[in-house]
């Protein structure tokens, strides 16, 4: 049977829980966002708090630490958005429940290998973007950062930045997926889906939010217009500083490219071409 789930992580977990409870072995797990198949299928609704339920169940079987590690790795693998990863996550979770332990060292099981690898890749990119995300100050107290990660790392890096910039209003936009996260001072944040131009905010759909939903101030939700130039002062200062920081006798562009591949340079002010208008808006995908 093909099981169709609502295309979120909770949706996937709900489908897995459904299969487990009803002793169903799905031939395929499919996100409701993807193509409709001709086979017999069953749509599973998302259950609220399913993540916590599974975690509690796993914790009873194998302890808190393992439960957390297993769900964490599944969540990261899910964010890789790779084809077929949902089925691998299903097998991974079922295996964790049946062996009552962390399956990650059992790499000789292909699905475990697949999940662990995907999770590792996502974690790696999330770590990278903790350093490579760049904020521009739009208004004196509002900062904007754009990026286009290979994997959906926005939910993974957000806690890092909400802790780090507690006293700062900021927006992080994933222009590849049209997602945006907004944070206001005091720790309130939410993740939106933007419309296709990536610019309009009022129609944005709440995907996740912290406790105080809807209490974000208007200044954060206001769309950044094309007229706000990002603070060229500091990006120029930064660029000039970096030029002087490099030691000419050690120049090694190959090493630089190995450490910082070109795909990551798109939104870095230090690699912006000076003659181009230095606004992130102009770089938005067409």
């Amino acid at each position: 049977m093909v099981i169709v789930y609502e295309g979120s992580f909770d949706g996937l977990l709900s489908a897995i829980a459904y299969c487990w409870q009803n002793r169903i072995r799905p031939e395929k797990l499919q996100s409701s966002h993807s193509q409709i198949s001709l086979l017999e299928e069953k749509l599973i609704e998302r259950r609220r708090g399913i993540g916590r339920m599974i975690r509690r169940h796993l914790a009873e079987l194998a302890g808190d630490k393992v439960a957390l590690a297993v769900l964490q790795i599944c969540w990261q693998a899910y964010l890789a958005e790779k084809a077929g990863i949902d089925m691998a996550i299903y097998k991974y979770l079922i295996l964790a429940i049946s062996i009552k332990a962390d399956p990650s060292p059992r790499f000789n099981i292909p699905e475990v290998n697949q999940v662990v690898r995907a999770a590792r890749a996502v974690e790696g990119e999330a770590h990278r973007f903790q350093g490579l995300l760049r904020f521009y100050s739009l208004q004196p107290d509002l900062y904007l950062a754009d990026f286009q990660p290979d994997y959906n790392v926005l939910p993974l890096i957000l806690p890092h930045f909400t802790d780090r910039f507690q006293d700062q209003d900021f927006i992080i936009r994933d222009l590849k997926r049209n997602l945006a996260a907004a944070h206001v001072r005091g720790g309130r944040w939410c993740i939106y889906r933007l419309d296709n131009s990536g610019k309009n905010w009022p129609d944005a759909v709440f995907l996740h939010d912290s406790a105080a939903k809807g209490s974000l101030t208007a200044s954060v939700l206001a769309p950044p217009t094309g007229d706000d130039l990002p603070d060229t002062d500091f990006s120029q200062l930064w660029r000039r500083y970096l030029q002087h920081l490099s030691i000419p006798q050690r120049k090694n562009l190959r090493l630089q490219r190995q450490n910082l591949p070109l795909k990551y340079r798109r939104y870095l002010p230090e690699f912006a071409r000076p003659e181009k208008k230095e606004h992130p808006e102009t770089d938005a995908p067409g």
């Binding site: 059992r106 930045f161 603070d231 562009l253």
Partner: protein
């Protein structure tokens, strides 16, 4: 001088300090700006391929000392400048808020005197920590010859403190930096060692004891400015790790910045490969339980430039190989060329559930390029054939300069030659 020129000048003056890490400390944000992640975060890479995680600047490039190897020596005719504490604190915060940097690396020339410099640095750091509520990473240099009271103050503001020894023998130091005494460098280092130990005790005893430089102490040695062999350098490093509890020793290939009869000629290229080998050896000391004596000894006091130090060691100890993947303990696995900490841990975790074969290792993403010659899986030798010693040596040799040697032929090269 405006801030733009000042930053360029004082950034350039600080670039020969190679320390870059922002790791080793976890700092939670308590309502202010910033935190510190224990893994360390790189923010960008400069054209020389080195990572940038901290805003690395000198407070001032004025200096009373005239050390031969230093770009900022008193005898050099350079534009000189100094930040003010407020200026530097505000710049750090502005960069930090844009996520350009992970924190501040503050060093300084010595002017007008060691204590005065330290006071300036302390003022900058207090502004950051107290006025701006900055919780990010701070690495501060302790100035040789400064008083312990100031060092104490600095330690409670910074995450990491370093004193650069620069030269690892008394003779070279006296030759190249005649105004600095060995005592002036050793004293703050020793002080930091005892203070860090005390701090650890205090934190065990009292939960809320203030943290003194929680990311510890580091230093830097210049490579190639003086005639020391790798053996002396590695022995010094080992001593510093064991006795002074240092977190890191950084090695900096000497870049010819001055013309001085005491130094190698300015036309000589910096010994980058040697620096690389020293770092490899340094890792072996810190994480692989090697001792300096195993890597270099009286007969061959320098590391082999063609071979990485672990491979060189393995070639000298072929009687200890091959190693059985399914049985060898962690320390033995670590000594196999090509197997690092992650691979060794992965093997140990995985073999509890299944016997491992060569294919399994490959599937686990363990790099077998070198390791394959030193391993057996369930009694089977992993490599396709048993190599002779010479063969093995060839297989393990890093093909350094490979790209340069095999450049694509250009038309200009052909011109003028009869082919």
């Amino acid at each position: 001088m405006d801030i733009m020129d000042k930053l360029a000048l004082l950034g350039e003056a600080a670039r020969y300090d190679v320390s870059c890490s922002s790791s080793g400390v976890q700092r939670k944000n308590t309502g202010g700006t910033g935190n510190a992640a224990p893994a360390g975060i790189c923010h960008t890479w400069t054209e020389d391929g080195r990572c940038v995680s901290l805003l690395k600047v000198l407070f001032t490039n004025r200096c009373i000392y005239d050390c031969a190897y230093c770009a900022n020596r008193a005898a050099n005719d350079l534009p000189r400048a100094a930040f003010t504490a407020e200026e530097l604190a505000e710049l750090t915060i502005a960069f930090y808020r844009r996520n350009y940097i992970e924190g501040l690396f503050l060093s300084s020339g010595v002017w007008p005197g060691p204590d005065a410099v330290m006071e300036n640095m302390i003022q900058t750091l207090s502004l950051l920590r107290c006025k701006h509520g900055f919780q990010g990473y701070i690495h501060a240099k302790a100035i040789p010859g400064s008083s312990p009271e100031l060092l104490e103050k600095l330690g409670f503001l910074a995450d990491r403190i370093s004193v650069n020894i620069e030269q690892c023998t008394r003779a070279s130091l006296e030759n190249l930096a005649p105004q600095k005494s060995v005592q002036a460098i050793a004293a703050p280092m020793r002080y930091l060692t005892t203070r860090l130990e005390n701090s650890r005790d205090e934190m065990i005893r009292y939960r809320h004891a203030p943290k003194f430089a929680p990311a510890g102490q580091t230093t830097q040695v210049i490579i190639g400015a003086s005639p020391e062999k790798d053996m002396q350098i590695l022995n010094t490093a080992q001593h510093l790790y064991q006795v002074n509890n240092l977190k890191r020793v950084y090695y900096s290939a000497y870049i010819p910045v001055n013309n001085d009869s005491r130094l190698p000629a300015a036309t000589k290229a910096p010994p980058l490969l040697r620096e690389h080998r020293l770092y490899q050896a340094d890792w072996l000391l810190r994480f692989y339980s090697f001792t300096a004596g195993e890597l270099v000894h009286e007969q061959s006091p320098d590391l082999d430039l063609q071979l990485d130090p672990k491979s060189a060691w393995a070639l000298r100890h072929l009687d200890q190989f091959p190693v059985e993947v399914n049985k060898a303990d962690y320390d033995t696995l670590l000594r196999v060329p090509g197997i690092g900490i992650k691979s060794a841990r992965r093997i140990i975790a995985a073999r509890r559930f299944a016997r491992l074969g060569t294919e399994d290792l490959r599937r686990m993403n363990i790099v077998l390029k070198r390791a394959v010659w030193f391993l057996t899986c369930s009694g089977r030798y992993c490599a396709p054939y048993i190599p002779s010693v010479k063969d093995l040596q060839l297989k393990l040799t890093d093909r350094v300069g490979h790209m340069e040697k095999h450049k694509q032929l250009r038309l200009e090269d052909i011109d003028g030659h009869s082919i």
